[in-house]
Each structure stands twice: as C-alpha cells, then as structure tokens.
Amino acid sequence: MSNISSEFVTMMARIWHRFSLPQGDAGLLAEMLAPMETAGEEAAVNLQFDLEPSDFDRALEELAPPVDER
C-alpha cells in the first residue's frame, strides 16, 4: 500500500526540481502515483539481477518469427 501524499509530491517538486506545484496538481499527481508505486513494488519481485544485463533489443531480434514465416 502506497503512502504517497500531496505533501510528499509538493516537497519533491520544491527540493528536487526547484519549482512550486499548485495544491490541486499535487493531489492529482499523488493519486496517479500511488497505484503505480504499488504495482512497481509487485513487479520488482520478478527481477533477477543475476540475469542482468537484460537486453530488450536482443530479445526482439531473437523472438522474431523465422524469415520464411514472415
């Protein structure tokens, strides 16, 4: 369960990115960020860093159908 709040977003905007965020924007952004943060935590369980480096481009090439099928 995410604890991301509008105060947290406002603080990050001010400290890390050096601009102020309207309160309404901060609330909406916090609402958008919370489910992503939760999903990210769940997805990260599948990461196996002993398989790194991952190579998405190589995977694309390997998973293409054989030339005569295309």
């Binding site: 990115h17 990210g40 997805a43 599948n46 995977a59 694309l60 293409a64 159908p65």
Partner: protein
C-alpha cells in the same frame, strides 16, 4: 479533388502518375485545394506548405518527362504529424513552447519518403508534445473527426488520421508511444501501422520517450500502409538503435496466400468492458477471417495491469527528462493535462525507472511464450469504445479525463511496452456513423504477417472504401 481521384488509394495513384495518366502537379493542386477547403471544419493542418509542395510536384513531373526512374511513391501527396523535422522549417510538435523552433536536419523517415517520390504538404495537427489519445490541442485548436466534427479524431496523431480519412492526403506519418497511431486510426476510420520498436529510424523525430517512441504510417488501405512502411523502415546510421534487419517486404506479403497463419483471440483483458457495438463488430471481423479459412484459437495472455503501470513509470520519467527545463521555466505554456502527465515523471525513483526497463525483456519473452505459443497474430479491438464528443472531453484534466485516457488506450499501451508491431484496421461503423476498428498484434518484426492478414480482410470487406460525407463534397 475530383470524385475519381478521391476514391483512389495511394498505390493506384502512384501507378497513374508514373504512367503519366495524371500529373503530380495536378494531384498536388487538388490536395492543396481540399486541405484549404476543409481546414475550417477539421483543423487538420498546423502548417500547409503549398508552394513547396507544388515545387516538389513539378520537379517530379520533370523527372518523369525525362524518363528517369522514379520511386514507389511518385507524385503522392502526403503530410505528417508536426514533429518530424524538415531542415530549415518550423516544427511545433503541437506546442506553444516549440512554436518557433526551426529544425536543422531532416528526419530520416521524411528523407526516405522524398527519395521515393512523395510530395510533402506540411505539418499536421497533433496532441501537444504527442501526449494524449483524444486529439485535442490547447494551442492550435482541436482537430476534428471527419465522420462527425463534433467528435474527437483521436490522438496524438490527430491531423494524420483526419487528413487521410477526409481524402486530403493519401497517407501520413504519425508517432506511437502508447497508441498514438492506432487510436486516431481507429477513431477516424483509417489504417494505422505501429512498427516493432527499432524498425523505423527516429532520427529527426521530436522525442517523447527514448524507449517507446515509434513512427509509422496512417493510410486508407493496408497495402498503402505496407508500401509506406517498406519505404521508411531499415537501418539508419543516424539512429544507432535502428534494427539492421534487412528486407521488410510488407507490400509483397499482401499478395501471399494465408496458408498456415493462425489468429489468436485473447481470453482475457482485451475484450473486457467493450461497447456492445464494438463487440458486434469484432464478432463480425472474426467471422470474416473464418470465412477465408483463417483458424481462430482462444489464447491466454499474461496480465496487463502491471505492464501498463510500469510502462507509464518509464515513459513519464523519460518525458520528464526531456521537458524538465521547460516545466521549470515555462509551466504556463503547457496545456494543463499535458503538463501534469509529463510532470508525473519527475516523481519516479530512478530504481523504478530502471526496474521497468529491466523487466521489459522478461515480460516480452513471457508474452511471446504464452500468447504466441499456438498462434501467429492476435486479434483484439483497437479500442473498447468509439470516438468521444469533443465537448465532453474534460480539458482541465479532472478525474473524467484520466478515466477516458485509460479507457481508450487500454488495448494499445501494453503493446508499446512490449515493443510489438500492431496494425489497426477499420471493421465497421456504429449506429451513429462512427468508425470501429480491430487491432492485429504480431511477434517482433512480423509486420509482413499483419499486412498479409489485414489486406486479406480488406479484400472481403468494404469498410475502408467508405468516405465521410464532408469529404465527398
């Protein structure tokens, strides 16, 4: 454009120009006249370059007269989303921030189209910075749907879809990072082909996301899209991420028999919460494939919910990296929805971003092993709904807008994360006369199979021959 010309597709037109039945100048003049006549209604163009286009057309006619060899797009009027750079020309990317930006290079995709003989009419309307699937634009005005101008054309390649549907141009390039070719194609009743990641060079394309941006064609027919993709695809030394895979052969595949190709119908996610009319259209599309002896198999697909969320984390982090300076210095020059969608990326931890990219290979391998274990291509709706009314779009970006964005892009976003090719093909109209579309999704670099199936479908259906009423006048 005369009725005769407006019913031609891109390939037929190129053949007629090559055989001197019609001149490139005549075709270009009529396209310009249509663009001007429909601009007030559709707002499809940000910048119409009539004089430049006519000069290109005259040069093409001169080459044909001399008997020179001309390319497969000879004399074909095209126009492109206003994010493809043309050396010395403005490229707004649909934004106020880049309104005065003049490019110092020409995109490889546009250069290849020009080399093939195409005419470039100018920059087309789009969602600001290619963010947003509806097609509204706070700075240049909303582009409108040719089937009903009260409705959205879809975005972010809104002008590309509208100008092709309205028979102004014979094809257009768009970009697709989460559905921005396929969604406007579906909403506006044209064909849209999102290539495999890395298939088409991104050199000279204003970026939104380094990892997910692709560019591809929007056209009236699948064969037209195949010809355009054949022209622009291939390795480009200016884009080191472009694939070195040779010989794409999409147009040739259109004439190949379908022997052995199997369509998979996902048993989860893609058919959830469909508008009943879209569901009926997809049933009819499945029947059309069965009637031409394509086997249809139910196939399981992995969960898409995680994919969608981590795609958004990575995309927004990349977009925020590009826009951070402008977000700080010129926040008021963004539309509210676009600013918030990009700002979102400022709050992603670096670890989350890297996890999203690291997981991409795992998700792709898992997806191919599961969804494509027993079939070659997946058949899904492109969108669960039809084009919304523009006056119902919440431009202040409240909760309603977020829900609408998530709904219209739910079937396209995961495919962008996976980097797979996908083809949107019109498959009917609802009772209100708005287009509906199916999406064919292939394994990596299987664009030719998508064109093969899409063209076979268009040979036994006539949805692609329907013309919006306003385009007939």
């Amino acid at each position: 454009m005369s009725d005769n010309l407006s019913t031609l597709d891109l390939c037929s037109l190129a053949n007629r120009v090559r055989s001197r039945e019609i001149s490139a100048e005549e075709v270009t003049q009529t396209a310009i006249a249509r663009a001007e006549a429909l601009q007030l209604t559709l707002n499809a163009f940000i910048r119409l370059e009539a004089d430049t286009a006519l000069a290109q057309a005259r040069a093409i006619d001169a080459r044909i007269a001399k008997g020179e060899i001309v390319g497969p797009l000879v004399g074909v009027p095209l126009a492109h989303k206003d994010m493809f750079y043309r050396d010395g020309m403005p490229t707004s990317c649909g934004s106020k921030i880049r309104a005065d930006f003049v490019a110092n290079r020409t995109s490889t995709a546009l250069a290849r189209l020009a080399e093939a003989g195409a005419i470039d009419l100018g920059g087309l309307n789009m969602s600001e910075f290619a963010v947003g699937p509806i097609g509204n634009n706070a700075h240049y005005g909303d582009c409108r749907n040719p089937w009903n101008p009260e409705h959205a054309p879809g975005g972010s390649s809104s002008g590309s879809a509208a100008s092709v549907a309205a028979r102004i141009v014979f094809g257009a390039l768009g970009s697709d990072t989460g559905g921005s070719i396929r969604i406007p194609s579906a909403m506006s009743g044209v064909v849209g082909l999102k290539p495999t990641q890395n298939r088409v060079s991104r050199y000279g394309l204003m970026p939104l996301s380094f990892s997910f941006d692709t560019s591809g064609p929007l056209t009236r027919t699948v064969r037209d899209a195949a010809r355009l993709l054949d022209t622009i695809a291939g390795y480009d030394p200016n884009d080191p991420t472009s694939s070195r895979r040779p010989g794409i052969g999409c147009e040739a595949a259109c004439d190949r028999p379908l022997d052995g190709l199997r369509l998979g119908i996902p048993t989860s996610y893609f058919f959830d919460d469909l508008d009943p009319e879209v569901a009926s259209a997809l049933d009819a599309a499945q029947k059309a494939f069965r009637d031409i002896s394509v086997p249809l198999l139910p196939v399981p697909v992995p969960s898409h919910n995680e994919i969608n969320l981590i795609w958004a984390a990575a995309l927004s982090a990349e977009a925020a990296t590009i826009h951070r300076k402008w977000l700080r210095e010129r926040p008021g020059d963004y539309g509210p929805m676009v600013r918030r969608r990009i700002e979102f990326g400022l709050y992603q931890p670096a670890t989350r971003y890297l996890e999203a990219l690291s997981l991409r290979e795992t998700f792709l391998r898992d997806y191919c092993a599961t969804a494509f274990a027993d079939c070659d291509v997946l058949l899904t709706p492109t969108m669960p709904v039809t084009a919304p009314r523009l006056d119902e779009v919440d431009v202040s970006d409240g909760k309603g807008m977020t829900d609408l964005v998530l709904k219209v892009s739910r079937n396209t976003r995961p495919i962008s994360y996976l980097g797979l090719p996908a083809l949107s093909v019109p498959c009917g109209f609802n009772e209100a006369g708005l287009p509906m579309a199916m999406q064919l999704i292939g394994r990596p670099f299987a664009e030719a199979q998508l064109c093969q199936l899409g063209h076979a479908y268009q040979k036994v259906t006539d949805w692609h021959t329907h013309i919006p009423t306003l385009a007939k006048s």
